[in-house]
């Protein structure tokens, strides 16, 4: 178990190192000059542009040798200093991101966990019921093929615009100030539902199909056939098959995290939901590079943490990893 988690941790450490290096490298080695780009964007008189240029060069720390820039980048990172936002000048990037993260968790955690849970169970049911299988497969494929933002647009248009049942923008009504009361919480949930639903639906399709295929595969395997030959009740064989099919689904969750990030970003843009995705949209529109780089780092940290959590769950669920029987 120690070896298994240790190996994983090493990979995660390397990943973090690489991600930070990418984050540092891209502004410095990409063709084009972000500093001039930002100044051109702001578009001021030449003398003001000179002052701005000096400020930006200092802010990026471009006035020292490269290796020193790299070390400074790491040092600043550990002090939680990700620079100052241009979009919301002069707020520090880290403050803006800290404000956004609760909204991300509020949507993502329920959507991921519920879609995984529901998808697995519906998929397992479909593997044994022909009529359910015949509806689940096309619907599931359609859902997984749907771009997140389009499903979000579809839901916002049909349930928000045409039916008028749900609000289509923001995390709470503009008329209410955030405070702890039943009215505010209900309003929060009201705004939360559509973004949650669109993420839930797209992910649900993938899990259900994956589980259905795995169950069919497991039911064909030797241990199922042997149990069948012994006269074991179907229900028990299904139970074993389900447990075995869970393992790849857990690994699949780790592999899906990247896609989930993309989905969350797109969904938040559609619903103007103030999470990281919405911040990225604003950072892109305002060419706020510090903010963008900060978001990148936080996404990486989030994905690494999630990966590690999934690894721990895997160790608990699959005894073989505890005994060191599988390396990966």
């Amino acid at each position: 178990m120690g070896r298994y988690l240790g190996r994983k941790l090493l990979i995660y450490a390397l990943t973090f190192f690489l991600a930070v290096t990418i984050d540092w490298m891209i502004p410095r080695f990409m063709p084009g000059d972000p500093v001039s780009l930002m100044i051109a964007r702001i578009g001021t008189r030449p003398e003001a542009a000179e002052v701005l240029r000096g400020y930006f060069i200092q802010a990026f720390g471009l006035d020292v040798p490269l290796w020193q820039q790299y070390l400074n980048f790491w040092k600043a990172l550990f002090q939680g200093d990700l620079g100052v936002s241009i979009w919301l000048y002069p707020q520090p990037v880290i403050k803006i991101i800290q404000r956004a993260i609760p909204y991300d968790l509020f949507i993502l955690l329920p959507a991921i966990l519920l879609s995984w849970f529901a998808g697995n169970h519906v998929g397992a049911l479909a593997a044994r019921a022909r009529w359910l299988d015949n509806t689940l497969l096309p619907v599931g494929y359609l859902l997984t093929a749907t771009p997140y933002m389009w499903l979000a647009i579809l839901l916002a248009w049909s349930l928000g615009n045409v039916a008028g049942v749900f609000p289509i923008a923001g995390a709470y009504s503009f008329s209410i100030r955030p405070h702890l009361s039943l009215r505010f919480i209900l309003d929060l949930l009201h705004h939360w539902f559509l973004p949650f639903l669109s993420l839930f639906l797209v992910m649900f399709g993938g899990w259900a199909i994956g589980m259905r295929n795995m169950i069919i595969y497991e039911m064909e395997s030797d241990y199922s056939r042997y149990l069948e030959a012994l006269g074991t009740p179907q229900k028990l064989i299904r139970k074993y098959a389900f447990r075995n099919a869970m393992l790849p689904q857990i690994t699949g969750l780790a592999l899906q995290l990247g896609g989930i990030v993309a989905g969350a970003v797109a969904t938040e843009v559609v619903f103007a939901y103030p999470g990281i995705g919405y911040i990225i949209l604003n950072a892109v529109q305002n060419q706020d590079y510090f903010l963008l780089q900060g978001c990148f780092l936080f996404i990486i940290i989030g994905v690494l943490l999630a990966n590690f959590l999934i690894d721990i769950v895997y160790v608990i669920v699959d005894p073989r990893t505890r005994l060191g029987m599988t390396g990966e």
Binding site: P31, P147, V270, V284
Partner: protein, 288 residues
């Protein structure tokens, strides 16, 4: 007799391919969109960004898909957008598959330190969310074209393909016919190309199809955040504009719905084709 063998295999393939409903449906939908991407732009009456009609008008005979809030023709944007979206999918899918094949075959066949190294790299890149990297790269590009977009999408999408191909190569390289080829003293490159790769052809096709779909979705998401091609049109860009200019609040469904529906149809058709092909290549999965 020797002449007959490949011919028979091919006709059997066509036989099962034709019988497979999933493949028929998937391929037909794809063909429709491919033909539309080729022919559509010639049917277009307006420049995609030209202010050619009334503002925010619903579909009419003059403007088949209505107009945007500025009076641009949505159908013109849609036709050109479908073309560029398919191009990105094709190019990005090709690049992703190629890199995946290269890394997977190399690591899987050679083994040892090289494999260990490639495997660690693959695992690391697999963890980093593709879109996050693409966002940060695209944001720093001043001029973004369809080619650069496909290049970056392909270059970040290969890890899972490499991993799958590596696993396949592992199982193939210990087979007897590979050992025999090795005894005859052939070079590694020739063994990989003539003994191992042909046995994975069906698998590689499936990998390509999935990479194609992934590239389309990634491009759409990038465009949707506003990091699409700086010049030109794409389906994601249409949606980006529609959402930014409050098409949702104004209920302009003709501007919002067609681009996303097309992406969903293309990617869905790719997935269905994939499942169909899988059933044909893998007799165990066939429904008789």
């Amino acid at each position: 007799m020797e002449q007959e063998q490949p011919k028979k295999v091919r006709s059997e393939f066509i036989f099962f391919a034709w019988r497979n409903a999933k493949l028929r449906i998937g391929v037909s939908i794809l063909l429709v969109f491919i033909v539309f991407a080729v022919v559509g732009p010639f049917l277009v009456k307006y420049d995609p960004y030209e202010y050619s009609g009334p503002m925010g008008a619903p579909p009419s005979r003059e403007h088949w898909f209505g107009t945007t809030i500025f009076g641009q023709d949505v159908f013109s944007q849609f036709a050109l957008g479908t073309r560029s979206t398919l191009t990105v999918g094709l190019l990005g899918g090709c690049i992703g598959t190629m890199v995946g094949i290269l890394v997977g075959l190399l690591g899987g066949y050679r083994g040892g330190m090289l494999d260990e190294f490639l495997n660690v790299i693959t695992n690391i890149i697999l963890i980093i969310p593709t879109l996050a990297v693409l966002i940060i790269i695209a944001a720093y590009l001043e001029v973004r074209g369809i080619l650069t977009q496909s290049l970056f999408i392909g270059l970040t999408a290969w890890p899972w393909a490499a991993r799958a191909i590596r696993a396949q190569t592992f199982s193939l390289r210990v087979r007897e016919f590979v050992d025999l080829a090795r005894i005859t003293g052939r070079s590694s490159l020739r063994i990989v190309l003539t003994e191992i790769a042909p046995n994975m052809m069906s698998y590689l096709l499936l990998v390509f199809i999935l990479q194609f779909g992934g590239a389309v979705l990634n491009a759409a998401t990038l465009d949707f955040i506003g990091l699409g091609p700086t010049k030109g049109v794409s389906l994601g860009l249409i949606m980006n504009n529609a959402v930014l200019w409050a098409a949702l609040q104004l209920g302009m469904w003709w501007w919002l719905l067609p681009p996303g529906a097309t992406i969903a149809a293309i990617v869905g058709a790719l997935y269905i084709t994939n499942v169909g092909l899988d059933e044909i290549f893998n007799p165990k999965l066939r429904e008789m």
